[in-house]
């Protein structure tokens, strides 16, 4: 897997496993509940890709900023987003992260630096750059991370955002979550070569490849990159190989669609980061985390169930700020 990590390995591993397992369990519950129609919100599961968010966010400060995508659950939770407000949001309830106006595709928790996500592919890239510009103008040493998919790099705004971030030497960490598919379309149908780091390097930014969604490698790499960025080193680029286990959107499997193979998916499941990190803990520690997470998840779901729907007059609120 990876070389040694920071000082207190045990504490760190417990934190990582808690974060990973929590995302996993919440999503498993979403999958279970989805068919009941209680969650009427197109949900793009992070299941299988949890480690990308967890590895990166573990290296960030609370004041650092994360921009992510409609596949938002992992980043939201990894950056410390409130679980109850997330479940309530998916239920469309008034206690949701955005009072039910956002749904799964637009999670937000400003108090933890989790910026609201967008359902238009690639659109958060320049926002992250702009946020970093603002922080730098005010002399802060904030690091801004933007997660995006392999599909997003095809949008012109990716090129424009990389160019500008590099030009202005802004502290933006571009994290390409390469799950090799955009919905059902493999990379081969979209790019002449999957040489994303090579291209990123032409913007004069350091790049790194993280294989297998390796949580610990990502954590270490992010810590180092964040330190360089805080010191004014300019943007960096990570390509993280990973795989979603479920269909593009929704709770189901999708092997019957035949756009990817069972062997391919099984290979990824065999190197499941949640299991691998869990295996580094002893049974007692792991069991305790699992029990605590279970309790928290069930409490969050109960909270969502109990929360009221927003009142009718809320339809007209929040369009403008005074």
């Amino acid at each position: 897997m990876t070389k040694g990590v920071r000082g207190d390995n045990a504490v760190l591993l417990r934190r990582l496993y808690t974060s990973l397992y929590r995302i996993r369990r919440v999503e498993e519950e979403i999958v279970r509940i989805y068919p009941t129609d209680k969650i009427k919100s197109p949900s793009h599961m992070s299941l299988g890709q949890e480690s990308v968010s967890v590895g990166v966010c573990e290296a960030l400060r609370k004041t650092d900023i994360v921009f992510a995508t409609y596949r938002s659950h992992a980043a939201y939770l990894a950056k410390g987003g409130d679980l109850k407000r997330m479940t309530a949001e998916l239920y469309g309830k008034a206690d949701g992260a955005a009072r039910g106006k956002a749904g799964s595709m637009h999670l937000i928790d400003m108090s933890t630096g989790m910026m609201g996500t967008s359902a238009i592919v690639g659109t958060s890239l320049p926002l992250a750059v702009g946020y970093a510009l603002a922080e730098r103008m005010r002399g802060k040493d904030t690091v801004v991370v933007v997660f995006f998919g392999d599909g997003a790099q095809e949008e012109g705004v990716f090129h424009e955002s990389m160019n500008f971030a590099a030009l202005k030497k802004l502290p933006v960490l571009f994290v390409l979550e390469n799950n090799t598919y955009a919905i059902h379309t493999p990379l081969g149908a979209r790019v002449p070569a999957a040489n994303f780091r090579e291209r990123a390097a032409t913007y004069k930014m350091p790049t790194q490849l993280i294989e297998d969604g390796d949580t610990l490698a990502l954590l270490e790499a992010t810590e180092a990159a964040a330190a360089r960025m805080r010191a004014g080193g300019g943007p960096e680029f990570f390509e993280v190989m990973t795989m979603r286990w479920l269909e593009h959107v929704g709770p189901g499997d999708d092997l019957h669609l035949n756009y990817r193979t069972k062997a391919e998916l099984d290979a990824w499941k065999a190197k499941d980061q949640v299991k691998l990190i869990g295996a580094m803990l002893d049974d007692a520690a792991r069991g305790q985390i699992q029990r605590e997470v279970e309790e928290e998840v069930q409490a969050a779901l109960a909270f969502a169930e109990a929360s009221p729907y927003p009142a009718d007059h809320e339809l007209y609120e929040h369009v403008y700020h005074d």
Partner: protein
């Protein structure tokens, strides 16, 4: 005024009608091709492009990178070269990435170059709704395109018109924004098997009535027809008009009906500000001037972004009951507080996500 044939015949869905239109045109015209995100994927754009790549070859129905701006330019370039590309967008919202090419290039080329080039492209734009599509997956921005000379905009509602308009759009020598609504895809209706074009600029009167004219756009036509049924039960006879084509717009049919009923309610499947509904009102009153004061009202999306949570989403859209209530007030005098009973639209009730 054109009427839909009511003679019995083969019934197919709106989605299948779209498929049939494209397939039949691809069959007779080798310059027609289809592309866009997901058109050849296992779901085949809700079935509307399902096996075109199998039937006509992988270069005539192909997926693309996520590059809406350039892909629009690719369509324009291919059209200038003499092809008839159909560019498909899973959500109308994504066309906001294509505005520069559509408005600055496609709409302008024929004029700027004094007719030396034509740009026969079709831009299929699917409006989303239901299951928490939210603010960025539910927009209907046809009025932005109606504003721009050089573009045509059509929004067929019935399976019959879906097929006929798509064939007409493909054959049209100009850029056509083809507006579809996801909630219409399952609707079934009589569709001739043979090829036919529904000409642009002809509205359809789907139901006759003397008390009020209801002009509705896209999915709101379905709701307006339901509203008209509610109204019949209380003795109010609404005339329901589907413009079908928004640009060019058949204002004459709307004017004639308004002259008859004296009341005009326009229900757009969009926001009203600077919308199709505003344009229709303006043209109607410009026509009548002071010779006739028509009572007019507009309905459309609430003037807010679309919320995802179901209770608020329900309030965001006009529906059969609120349309009926508004029409009733217009006929009987304000604030009658009549609201018919009735279930939510079945296509919305029955729709299951995730998308």
């Amino acid at each position: 005024m054109t009427k839909l044939g009511t003679k019995p015949g083969r019934e197919i869905s709106y989605a299948d009608a779209l498929y049939e239109a494209v397939a039949s045109e691809m069959d007779i015209d080798p310059s027609v091709f289809v592309f866009g995100l997901g058109v050849d994927d296992p779901k085949g754009m809700y079935g509307t492009t399902k096996d075109l790549h199998v039937r006509f070859g992988a270069d005539r129905n192909f997926d693309t990178p996520l590059s809406e701006d350039a892909m629009t330019g690719v369509a324009i370039g291919a059209a200038i070269a003499g092809m008839r590309p159909i560019h498909v967008h899973q959500r109308f919202d994504f066309l906001l990435l294509c505005m520069n090419q559509l408005v600055n290039l496609a709409a302008k080329s024929s004029y700027m170059f004094a007719g030396a080039v034509s740009v026969p492209i079709v831009v299929r734009s699917i409006i989303g709704r239901s299951w928490g599509q939210g603010a960025q997956h539910s927009q209907a921005l046809h009025s932005m395109f109606m504003h721009v000379p050089g573009l045509k905009v059509v929004a067929p509602t019935t399976p019959h018109d879906a097929k006929g308009c798509l064939i007409a759009a493909i054959r049209d020598n100009n850029p056509v924004i083809f507006v579809e609504h996801r909630m219409l895809y399952g609707n079934r209706g009589v569709v001739p098997e043979e090829s036919y074009a529904v000409p642009f600029g002809k509205a359809r009167t789907l139901k006759e009535g003397d008390d009020i004219t209801i002009v509705a756009v896209s999915h709101m036509v379905v709701e307006a027809l339901r509203a008209a049924s509610h109204l019949e039960k209380v003795g109010v006879h609404a005339e329901v008009i589907d413009p079908v084509s928004l640009s060019p717009l058949d204002i004459d049919t709307i004017i004639q009906s308004s002259a008859k009923t004296g009341r005009l309610l326009i229900v757009d499947n969009a926001w009203t500000a600077c919308g199709a509904s505003a344009e229709i009102v303006a043209q109607v009153v410009e026509h009548f001037q002071q010779t006739r004061a028509i009572q007019v009202r507009r309905m459309g999306f609430a003037p807010v972004p679309c919320p995802t949570t179901k209770p608020l989403e329900n309030l965001f859209y006009p529906n059969a009951r609120t349309i009926a209530a508004k029409a009733y007030d217009m006929v009987k005098g304000a604030d009658q507080h009549w609201l018919p009973e009735g279930p939510e639209a079945k296509e919305i009730l029955e729709f299951k996500g995730p998308f």
